[in-house]
């Protein structure tokens, strides 16, 4: 297993639109294991393949307090089940240190493949619904900062660029 490098905003590669996974094979499962290790190490509760510069429709999550409920979603698709929206203070491993309020549908249905390539369906609300929508946005090249004003987003960009320059 290996830790993967997490891309940080405003890295343009985070804007890549991911392609569907065609085959769930051992190489894919190795990537999934590395993504879990990277996510738990960060630590975070969700990680999309886009964030580790793999542009395939794949994400991993674990929203449990103990970090013992890993979930894999391959080629995930969501359908909102209600017009009601909820706001949540979201953060992101690719936008470290910033939290912003984002409004999203409160209840969604998820269709995806698991790590064995088997299809499954799930209804989600609360944190699970927020997290899956946030991660699927990554696969479409979107970030949670896209939901805040441009002024705010530019301030975040400048601060992160400064940190990244100091690190380089």
């Amino acid at each position: 297993m290996a830790l993967l490098e997490i891309l940080e905003f405003p890295d343009p590669r985070l804007r890549t639109i991911a392609s569907p996974v065609e085959q769930v094979d051992d190489a894919m499962r190795e990537l999934i294991d590395n993504m879990f290790e990277t996510m738990y190490d960060a630590p975070g509760i969700g990680l999309a393949a886009t964030q580790v510069n793999v542009h395939k429709r794949l994400l991993v999550m674990d929203i449990s307090d103990e970090g013992d409920q890993p979930m894999v979603f391959i080629n995930p698709q969501i359908t909102p089940l209600t017009d009601e929206t909820k706001t949540y203070d979201e953060g992101c491993l690719s936008v470290p240190g910033f939290y912003e309020t984002v409004e999203r549908p409160d209840r969604v249905r998820i269709n995806a493949l698991d790590r064995n390539g088997e299809a499954f369906e799930l209804e989600a609300d609360g944190l699970l619904a927020v997290c899956i929508q946030h991660e699927i946005d990554h696969l479409d090249g979107k970030l949670f900062v896209d939901y805040v004003s441009r002024l705010k987003r530019e301030r975040i960009r400048k601060k992160l660029e400064k940190v990244q320059r100091q690190r380089a």
Binding site: P10, P12, R13, R15, T16, I17, S19, H55, D140, G141, K142, D146, S149, R150, L151, R153, E154, R155, K158
Partner: protein, 432 residues
């Protein structure tokens, strides 16, 4: 035959960067030459032509430091060959020994066999250095290849960001396209099926960047008008137009028509007039609109002189993408750095304010004007708009808060970003 490409690059550069300084536009000369070359040759010619314009001052400063006396003006071709060779050594991946061996032969082909030894010696010396060694001995204007006046203005305008901006102006810009909203998913899919990497733009909803850069006419959906080349920043102002159903819209400086097409996609029921002072370039607008299937009235006329073309019917909304210094798009047109003169800026500012004053009375009460430039100089942008607001009591700034930027208090100033959008400015004004 790479030599054909290198000779073509010298031919292009001798027209774009002649010894007397009065050069033609790189894009125009390239367009004329590219048809004569194979795709591979074309790639090398463009790489050298754009690269030497991009890094001209850096290359030329180092070259001057190596010469006891400058080359004669009549030896311009040799001078340009040296700059091309230096560019290949420091900015391409071609092996140094191949570059050092190639250019003396080019001198012979240029009928300047006397220069072969000189070129060999200079390139051999340069091949022991890299870009960083060379930059470290130069001031910022030399290193980032800007004319002194522009570097000075950048420092005055953006004290804490100037070095950053100068550096990014030396980058190459990504290929960015705008998708037609109705076909966006389909195009996203077919681009990926063509094994291209598609990335979403940061601010423009239907903006996509495509890697590797590609001849756009070959992209799936181009012929049908489903995608158009347009930088992300340039996609933002038209979205701010406020057009009622069947409203009347004027695109006041329309050529080459990228934004005209976008207006028709955003407001399909609007009555759109595309105005441009240059009849020849108005043809480009027409071709663009035909490809997109856009219904637009074309009008030849000067936005600063509406008496010559206006039919007395007021407009609901006007887009004014005015002539400007184009300092925000230097990445895409690096020859601008050597063609633009400092005196042009005041003249352009004068023209911009005359256009604003001339077009404003054509707008209905409650109507909007979106002012836009591809400049990063405040005198053409926020200062221009502030001065207009000060002299037009019935105008107020109306740029949505969500579209504003941190760089300025009036409108939105975008500065060029690595791998992302160009420098650009826009502001929406509303008539009381």
């Amino acid at each position: 035959m790479p030599d054909k490409a290198r000779l073509a690059a010298i031919k292009v550069l001798s027209q774009v960067l002649p010894a007397d300084g009065n050069g033609r536009s790189l894009r125009d000369v390239m367009t004329q030459e590219r048809g004569k070359l194979s795709p591979a040759e074309r790639g090398l010619m463009m790489d050298l032509g754009y690269g030497v314009c991009r890094h001209y001052r850096l290359l030329d400063t180092w070259l001057a430091s190596q010469m006891n006396k400058p080359l004669r003006a009549s030896a311009r071709a040799v001078h340009l060959a040296l700059l091309c060779g230096l560019h290949e050594l420091w900015f391409s991946r071609r092996p140094a020994h191949a570059v050092v061996n190639t250019w003396p032969d080019i001198c012979r082909a240029l009928k300047a066999p006397w220069a072969a030894g000189l070129v060999n010696a200079v390139l051999r010396k340069a091949s022991t250095l890299n870009e960083m060694d060379v930059r470290s001995k130069m001031n910022p204007a030399q290193s980032w290849s800007l004319p002194d006046w522009l570097w000075l203005r950048l420092q005055q305008s953006w004290p804490s960001d100037a070095a950053h901006i100068a550096e990014h102006l030396c980058d190459t810009a990504p290929l960015t396209v705008r998708l037609q909203p109705a076909h966006a998913d389909e195009v996203d899919q077919s681009l990926r099926d063509a094994s291209l990497t598609v990335t979403r733009c940061d601010f423009a909803e239907y903006g996509r960047r495509i890697f590797p850069a590609h001849n756009v006419a070959d992209l799936p959906g181009f012929a049908q008008g489903w995608l158009s080349v347009q930088d992300e920043a340039a996609q933002l102002p038209a979205v701010l137009l406020d057009v009622p159903p069947q409203g009347r819209v004027l695109d006041a400086c329309a050529a080459p028509g990228g934004k005209t097409g976008q207006i028709s996609e955003l407001f399909p029921n609007a009555d759109i007039t595309a105005l441009d002072v240059d009849g020849r370039r108005l043809k480009q607008v027409q071709e663009n609109c035909e490809r997109l299937g856009a219904q637009v009235t074309l009008l030849e006329g000067d936005a600063a002189l509406p008496a010559q073309w206006w039919d007395e019917q007021p407009f609901d909304s006007v887009l004014m993408d005015v002539p400007c210094s184009a300092t925000g798009i230097i990445r895409r047109q690096p020859d601008l750095k050597w063609h633009r003169r400092e005196a042009d800026i005041a003249a352009l500012c004068g023209l911009q304010s005359r256009m604003l004053d001339a077009i404003w009375p054509l707008i209905k009460t409650g109507g909007t004007l979106v002012y836009a430039t591809c400049s990063i100089l405040p005198e053409e942008n926020a200062e221009q708009v502030s001065a207009f607001l000060a002299r037009q009591p019935d105008a107020r700034e109306d740029t949505p808060v969500s579209a504003r930027s941190v760089e300025t208090s009036v409108g939105c100033q975008l500065l060029p970003q690595a791998g992302s959008h160009d420098g650009f400015y826009f502001a929406r004004l509303r008539k009381r």
